[in-house]
Amino acid sequence: MPSELSINPGIELRNAELELHHFQMRLAIAAGFVLLAFLLLAGRFFYLQVVRHGELYTLAEANRIAIVPVVPNRGVIVDRNGVLLAHDYSAYTLEVQPDRIANLERVIDELATVVEITPRDRRRFRRLLEESKSIGTLPIRTRLSDEEIARFAAVRYRFPGVEINARLFRQYPQGEMFSHVVGHIGRINQREVERLQANGLWANYRGTDYIGKTGLEHQYESTLHGTTGVEEVEVDSGGRPVRTLSRTPPVSGNNLVLNLDARLQEVAYEAFSENRGALVAIDPATGGILAFVSKPGFDPNLFVDGIDSQNWNELNTSPEKPLVNRALSGTYPPGSTFKPYMALAALAYGKRTPQQTINDPGYFMFGGHQFRDSHAGGHGIVDMHKSIVKSSDTYYYMLANDLGIDAIARFMAQFGFGAPTGIDLAGEATGILPSQEWKMRRFNQKWYAGETISIGIGQGYNAYTPLQLAQAVAMLANGGTAYRPQLVSAVEDHRTRDRAPVEPHQLRTLNLKREHLAVVRDALVGVNKEGTAARSFANAPYASAGKTGTAQVIGIKQGEKYVESRVQEELRDHSLFIAYAPAENPRIALAVIVENAGFGARAAAPLARKVIDYYLLGKVPARERRAGNDDASSG
């Protein structure tokens, strides 16, 4: 075109033509740039939609579909009569996702204007936050009322990262009475996560917030927990489920049926009144645990959704030590309840005959040291029967000296003293069954003959759990068979209700001569009929066997006298009692210890009477403040 125009020259027109030409050049360059840019876009679309299509499509599907675990219902725990000891209930909780919230304190303050959040809730939440450190949600409030749910729903948009969820909560309707048996669950902590991962169980805990922490809840975790189900749901960008695509239902955990009798437990627990102590009652024919008390207990419900620091400190620092399971991990000198086993040892080793007598002047001299009898002036002429019925110390000082420490240890080991019983509960203490070898191992010292003397009356290094005492007396009751103590009697299928019984597990049978056993068992009946526990068992419509015991907490110096009123309460003697009934065909064997309550006959024996009365006769004791009873001079 320009060449054509140049034929007809004219400065202005020529200028204009030149300018137009320039402009059109520039426009062509711009057009080229546009084309290039669009080609770049087309290339980018091709790259994303064809080259990377597979990968990005997968990501879109991963966005869309969430695999949501469906948490199984936890099995319930019931006593032998079906009384609920642990179960779940459904409740609404207000939950917070800490990692989605910048200023937690402010959000919680704002939430508090919508639903009630108590200082206790806040303390508990802080504790959870410190412990968990993990992703996921933490409850700030539990058990919301319908009105609170409605109020929150109206302002929900203001609280991203806060939601209301329906959750199952564990409840322990019997409260502190069973706290040491049933135990409690709590939120899974980091250590438990690692353990579950190491055992390959972590997948089954997806979505589960709780795990058994103590007691049966811990011991039977795998039975109670069940199998987690899976739901494939379509979710939106906020993670809210839109619809379900597929579902594998969870399998609920199985139920535990216990040997325990909840009402017996209650009778026993109440019988302790204000006292501390422990009681273990066993069915001597099976090893099934009928009652398992550690007093004081604590309210396990406090632990379920995380205990707040104030309650925790109270429980943890209380001088009464409510968190200690006395029956399982408390060890005590057995005191005179050791004597029947000593007598059996004497017969078995041929060191005494039942008729052989000694003179009890009220003390025993050994190596220039005077071992006093707790009964001032002694019991005079004493044979084996009388030694048990009246609880002569001098008889057993002499006997211990004649048997020697290793023979005692060998014999006592057969009754399970100083060894874990194998009960279905974790945390069992071993106790101490002293021997030369034990002392060398423990203190790297040799045994002194003088140390054997007080072993004979259940003092010295002797230290056993109430559970061991109960297992041993159950063996006296059943003629010498050791059963593994068993809390759970059956596992019940959650759906079919079929029960798979846990068979009694026989550990060993002692080779005791029948006539030897008869001597001791006669003497134990004598204790309850005319001996140290006679007043406690006065007018009982059944024959029973028992033995009182008093365990020293502090040593009394030579020449001094123990005067209870002068000793601080927590240093006073423990009151013990072992028993079984009916004497001929025993259905219950038990051991009781009442801490710092003095003679065995005074506190422990009456307590045992109430328990046996209830178990054999169904008699519920009147609730009196204290069973003041002082029918014996010796424990």
């Binding site: 300018e19 320039h22 402009f23 059109q24 520039r26 426009l27 711009a30 057009a31 546009v34 084309l35 840019a37 669009f38 770049l40 876009l41 087309a42 980018r44 679309f45 091709f46 994303l48 939609q49 064809v50 990377r52 299509h53 990968e55 990005l56 499509y57 990501l59 879109a60 599907e61 966005n63 869309r64 379509e234 979710v235 939106d236 960008s237 906020g238 839109v242």
Partner: protein, 367 residues
């Protein structure tokens, strides 16, 4: 046909370019189809946008019937008023979402920066046309100042997207007016040298947007989230897309701003590469037709204005699709005809109206 009807038809179509209108209507139709899906079948949104479209088409018709010399007379006053409004915004503007963009006039709220998208190229085209015979370097300097003053005011609101678009529009005028290559190169080098200073002047969120462009995964839950999710949406569409109303990224709310700035992600997910190429083709057709009008425009003013309108339209489309597909940073630029919203739609149709007016009035000017 009744003569009255014929007269009406003539009145309505006299200054309308049929080809360009056809392309615009096709793009508007695509916009409605996508919006139905992107809004999750929200009838209120769709009818709202249909109303916006009618208004925009009315504006298009109106401007197509305004002869270019009226526009030329209006250029300077419009620019001055716009500048005053921008200053007023800086002094008395309302803050929304951390930016001071709105001016409350009592009866209505206006966003002067939107208005400047047309006023700036208009004023620059007028300025070059006025000095057509005596263009010197000095004139380019004045033009740059005319451009940079409003851009600076808008950038500090802050409104990066609009500032970028107006700068682009102004640059296109300068470029088409024949700014020498040497100066372009020199300014380019100077800009590169100034980058560190610009960087330090940027707001945190602006820096963040640029940083995450290079690595969206750096901040997958924050600023990178938009880009990652829209790239997933685009890529998961594949060759043919998931089908209308079937985009999971769209309907499960993973695409942010899915009816406005990110509407292209919805389109790409549901219509795939094929749909994307068709859409690119439509945009390219609109640009080609506009360039043809530009090339044949009678005066320098008309040429520069048409060129600026055309290339600004291109910039909208390119920046938006580039940002959604992850090759440009996330700046608030809508996709012409597809993004929900009246303002952008009206200003784009206004531009096409001016194009049509210039196209139809050229004979009048020439004779």
């Amino acid at each position: 046909m009744h003569p009255a009807v014929r007269r009406l038809e003539r009145f309505l179509t006299r200054n309308i370019d049929g080809t360009l209108l056809g392309i615009v209507l096709a793009l508007l139709a695509v916009g409605v189809v996508v919006l139905v899906s992107a809004s999750n079948l929200n009838a209120a949104r769709v009818t709202g946008q249909l109303a916006n479209m009618l208004i925009a088409l009315a504006v298009l018709w109106l401007f197509a019937n305004i002869p270019p010399h009226y526009l030329m007379r209006l250029a300077l006053p419009l620019y001055v008023v716009g500048l005053c409004l921008l200053v007023a915004v800086a002094l008395f503007g309302e803050v929304a979402h951390g930016a001071r963009r709105w001016l409350d006039l009592g009866v209505t709220r206006i966003q002067p920066s939107e208005f400047m998208k047309i006023a700036v190229p208009l004023a620059l085209a007028w300025y070059f046309d006025r000095h057509e015979k005596t263009l010197r370097l000095y004139n380019y300097g004045v033009a740059v100042a005319m451009l940079l003053i409003p851009v600076a005011l808008i950038a500090r609101q802050p409104d990066l997207g609009t500032a970028v678009l107006i700068t682009a529009a102004g640059f296109f005028v300068l470029f088409l007016a024949g700014l020498s290559w040497r100066i372009i190169a020199a300014v380019g080098i100077a800009c590169a040298a100034a980058l560190p200073f610009v960087w330090s002047a940027l707001r945190d969120y602006q820096r963040q947007r640029i940083l995450t462009l290079f690595d969206p995964s750096q901040d997958p839950l924050g600023t990178g989230y938009h880009t990652i999710q829209s790239m997933i949406a685009v890529g998961s569409g594949g060759w043919f897309g998931k089908g209308w109303l079937n985009g999971s990224q769209t309907h499960l709310d993973f695409i942010p701003e899915r009816t406005t700035d990110f509407v292209f992600a919805v389109f790409a997910e549901e219509f795939g590469l094929l749909g994307c190429l068709v859409l690119l083709g439509l945009f390219l057709a609109a640009i080609s037709r506009s360039m043809l009008i530009t090339a044949n425009a009678p005066t320098l003013f008309a040429r520069l204005l048409c060129g600026a309108i055309t290339l600004t339209f291109f910039t909208y489309a390119f920046v938006n699709m580039g940002m959604v597909s992850g090759i440009l940073p996330v700046v608030g630029v809508p996709l012409p005809f597809l993004s929900y919203g009246g303002t952008a739609l009206v200003s784009i149709c206004l531009g096409f109206g001016i194009l049509m007016s210039i196209n139809s009035h050229k004979k009048l000017v020439q004779t």
